[in-house]
Amino acid sequence: MKSLNKFLKDILKGSKPAIARAITIVENDSDYTLLKKLFRSSGKAYYVGITGPPGAGKSTLVNAIAKLLLKKKKRIGIIAVDPTSPFSGGALLGDRVRMTDLALNKNVFIRSMASRGSLGGLAQKTKDVALVLDAAGMDYILIETIGVGQVELDIAQVCDTTAVVGAVPGWSYPIIKTIATTGDGVDQVVVRIEEHRRYLTRSGKLESARKERLFSRINELIEERIRADLHKRLTTQPGLKKIIDDIYNRRRNPFDVAEKILRNSGFVF
């Protein structure tokens, strides 16, 4: 027990190797022992999400924001999430390339994360990793994820403020002015859609993207059924408002509450 206490102390005082190890544990373990302990010390950091399509400049913006916050004497935790390939399970995490000038700053901690099982671009475990950084005394936590369209909602759910970064108009992201009610420009939209389709077909990207979607579909179907049941159990939980107030005030932690509901549901974990 002594070693856990020492480990916790190291995390709370912001030791980088300890934070790094804690994140690895949180990322790989389904055991919440560590998070339960850290939860008490969390809740002070402000969470900012940066999302947008690939190549839009998210990492560059995160880097610039971090530099400005450093001038204000803030401590910053950065979580850069990149997608896991659904086939190989591997990931290429390249966001550090745009953040090299922060690499040695003692008030910055950068962690690259692969989205792993999560489909929304935001790793399921991101929240837990953010909690570690929060407890470790970061003033700001910047979470960078790929998101296009609906997926931004996923990150907005975790962050206090979310910024969506748009790409510079160019060949890959054509911008076409249209007025749908009068039909102006709609022909151009159709031309571009057909062009894009030909490109995807020729490059083989259409087939691979569709296969990935089918894989995701199976996963969704499984998750949907379980999620609906558990959601109902949570929303009908007696005294839910009080429970959330208690968690907000750090008198209870969300992990224990979740475990209790799971145990009662018959889903044994």
């Binding site: 389904s30 560590l34 896991t84 190989s88 591997g90 290429l92 390249g94 690499a103 950068i110």
Partner: protein, 145 residues
Amino acid sequence: MDKKIRVLVAKPGLDGHDRGAKVVAAALRDAGMEVIYTGLHQSPEAIVEAAIQEDVDVIGLSILSGAHMTIFPKVLELLKKKRAQRIIVVGGGIIPADDMKKLEKKGVKKLFGPGTPTTEIIKWLKENVKTGKKRVKVQKKRRRK
């Protein structure tokens, strides 16, 4: 969930030839590893700091500038100083056979010369990298005491 092998791929020093490093990084990803690529012109200090924050199992350095006899020992020394010797160091690039031997004696775990098939690198890593799984388990056990 399985603990993935995490690898930091870095290009230290002044040389700007990163094609090889990128090919290797993509191959390791396709083999199921999580690869953190840090880009060009990295100092040994920045590489070691990134490796610690990312809690990687392996650092892979690509050096084609001839500075291998300076950079590899410096990275090993910093890892030792930061008590992060559990992170193993491998590398590739234009490194003469004599130097390879010297560096492996100094503690570089494996060097891959030009023309090495990526499959060979993957095989070596899978056989020789102990992922953090063991470490994490140890941590858990200790916690339960």
